[in-house]
Symmetry: C2
Subunit: 413 residues, 2 copies
């Protein structure tokens, strides 16, 4: 890496993105950094060293969240926390999570270089886990800081190779009380920058997104129970075709969202038919239903409508439909003052922006119920994320950092 | 087996069904007799011996079709052929195919015992193969007799274990010219009894079905090409959801059949979504479409309508839809004189009957394009076939034989 003295912020973020992506690099040009693996550990250690070369004091907490601290000259107690997560999905991209950590680090470093120590303490955080890609639990990093999770919640989890969560953690020296207790009560606010993971910004040609809300999500497994029969010898009027019925529901799910619930997204992404043979009428179909919106009442109203429809169609066609809730996450409102401030900053700096709702979950969703939280997006090319194809233009990466730096400056200096 | 002297036809058919099912019996109480396996060979040999104990002369042809011949006293050249297939699907039932052979055998035996030799030659046939369960070719038995297939058609076929069709055949001594040439030119008519494999007879409470036509069938693979995207971050109006589109088509396929094409059956039994994950919009969906009707023009008109609709919806939603034809079988009309005769017989004998269309394929479909052919159905309980649960009541089994016996008597005595 060249000396940052001769680099613009834009060059520096691009170079650091490549540098961090070298930890856990995959054959496809992607990144795999699962929680408590060697690649993950190497990345956290490398970030620790990098922070230290920038003159930032570092420490781990006992679950492996890494902090870089710029001690406040006036207020040492309260902390302005900024960062994102270091873990990735399997064969994920270079930007998801990583960009947020590096943006925070570069913002803190630049402020420190230019203005010295802040009045209020700033901490940069590389959160240990957000994706839930190795063990069946997401938000492990932010969840520990905010007190949502403790080590008791992961006693039984194993990864696909049968490695226990706790063993993986212990092997790297975490979870044994050697480091700082994860749960915190001194965080004044949390600010995160992240790639959008959608194509709203790209389609509207904006450089940054100012997130007002993170959607709530409900997810179900729906099972239609029909009767499997011979496709040639069963007249149409004697059929109980589970796939035809499921198809009616899938069409209705989407139609209801589009026609009556603007802003809500409804998705059936998973379907399984039984026996799933071309010349046999499907006797059983299982499918997923994923609903998201940023207002709890709207989610509830949609759910009520669709459940009524399911009930009605089940009675009409005399087929049982079983509905099992799989996920229920409430929407989270970002800090209104923070959002206002971000809107002003974007205007002042002439950065093109869009106030928007986040359709994906982020660490900010966990912090948002715990302290005032702000979330800034940069565009994802073609809306692609969780893929080696993830990409954000250098200008947008830079604008994200400028927005964050200005927020930190106003809050801490 | 008790002496048949003391048995009714009904008892005898029930006992013979169990006897033949003992060759290839499965753990589930079903039958697996795949072409040219030991179980298959044992069944053919056992049938040969059984025929001989009934005083019927037997011979194999060179593909393993087994014939039992009652020589005609006046016409030795032309043959009235009756029977069905001895092979089964994997873990199939005791009745599919087997009942037709045993019904023919009992009918011939009873007529011979009562009236002696017929004027015209009657041959009972145990056809070697109909299901296409071991090798990817169906109707091998009837196809060889009628000249549709020869040994040249199976040179490249292998079963799932990599055993070549020809090797399997040669090992049992068939295919080497040792037996009679399969192709025949002296068959005057073919008569088959078979289980319905549907629930039309059961629902209408009839004992036999008199088949006027066997449906034609068209089958396609349809592929909808959308765009895979994040279920949370992609607004409804920016989606190209392949599963939603496929669902619209599946609903339309059924609706068109029900509303505009009475008697036609349209089935989507197989579906595969990619990536098939609950929180990802499906980028690609592949599904089957199986259409059947007994009139070629009706099939063609339906196909034209559905293809126009596919074209229209593809343009409207700006998603490509690829359509590949997989199967195209023409409908076959059964012999009208034979059908008339069967209707009269059922009336005369006070056997409850329904004139109907067969939605499944049978050997009669192959014979139907070659010689005057008649097909008699008996009910399948709950419409179930290709399963150990296959069952037909003894009274119905008997009625099927009575119908066949009367047909043979009128034709040959």
């Amino acid at each position: 890496m060249n000396s940052p003295l001769y680099m613009t912020l834009k060059d520096e973020i691009c170079e650091m993105i490549e540098w961090l992506a070298s930890y856990g690099k995959t054959e496809n040009g992607g990144v795999t950094r699962l929680l408590y693996t060697k690649e993950w550990y190497d990345a956290q250690q490398a970030l620790k060293e990098k922070m230290e070369t920038f003159g930032i004091t570092t420490y781990f907490d006992d679950v492996g969240n890494l902090f870089g601290r710029l001690e406040g000259t006036e207020d040492r107690e309260k902390v302005i926390l900024t960062g994102s997560h270091v873990d990735t999905v399997i064969d994920g991209g270079k930007y998801d999570g990583a960009y947020g950590i590096l943006a925070s680090l570069l913002a803190a470093k630049t402020l420190f270089a230019k203005y010295g120590s802040p009045k209020k303490t700033i901490e940069v955080v590389s959160l240990c886990e957000e994706e839930g890609s190795r063990f069946p639990l997401a938000f492990w990093g932010s969840g520990n800081i905010t007190g949502r999770y403790t080590i008791k919640d992961v006693q039984t989890y194993k990864d696909v190779n049968g490695v226990a969560f706790l063993d993986a953690m212990f092997r790297l020296g975490f979870g044994k009380g050697r480091y700082k207790t994860p749960q915190r009560t001194n965080i004044e606010s949390f600010i995160e920058v992240h790639i959008e993971q959608g194509e709203v910004l790209e389609k509207s040609d904006k450089s940054v997104g100012i997130v007002s809300d993170i959607v709530g999500q409900k997810r179900w497994q729906i099972e239609v129970k029909g009767e499997s029969n011979h496709a040639g010898t069963t007249p149409m009027n004697l059929r109980k075709d589970a796939l035809k019925m499921a198809s009616e529901l899938i069409v209705a799910v989407s139609k209801l969202a589009v026609e009556k619930f603007p802003g809500l997204v409804a998705t059936v992404g998973h379907i399984e038919a039984v026996p799933n043979v071309g010349n046999v009428i499907a006797g059983n179909v299982l499918f997923s239903l994923d609903i998201r919106h940023h207002q709890k009442e709207v989610l509830a109203a949609y759910c009520q409508s669709i459940m009524m429809y399911i009930d009605e169609i089940s009675k009409r066609e005399k087929m049982d439909i079983l509905v099992a809730e799989a996920v229920d996450i409430s929407p989270v409102h970002m800090d209104e003052q923070g959002t206002e401030l971000l809107l002003n900053i974007a205007s002042d700096k002439s950065i093109s922006y869009k106030k928007m709702v986040s359709g994906a979950g982020h660490d900010s969703q966990v912090f948002g119920t715990y302290c005032p939280t702000s979330l800034i997006f940069v565009p994802s090319r073609d809306g692609i994320s969780h893929s080696p194809k993830e990409y954000t233009k250098a200008d947008d990466l830079e604008n994200g950092i400028i927005m964050l730096m200005e927020m930190l400056y106003r809050a801490a200096y």
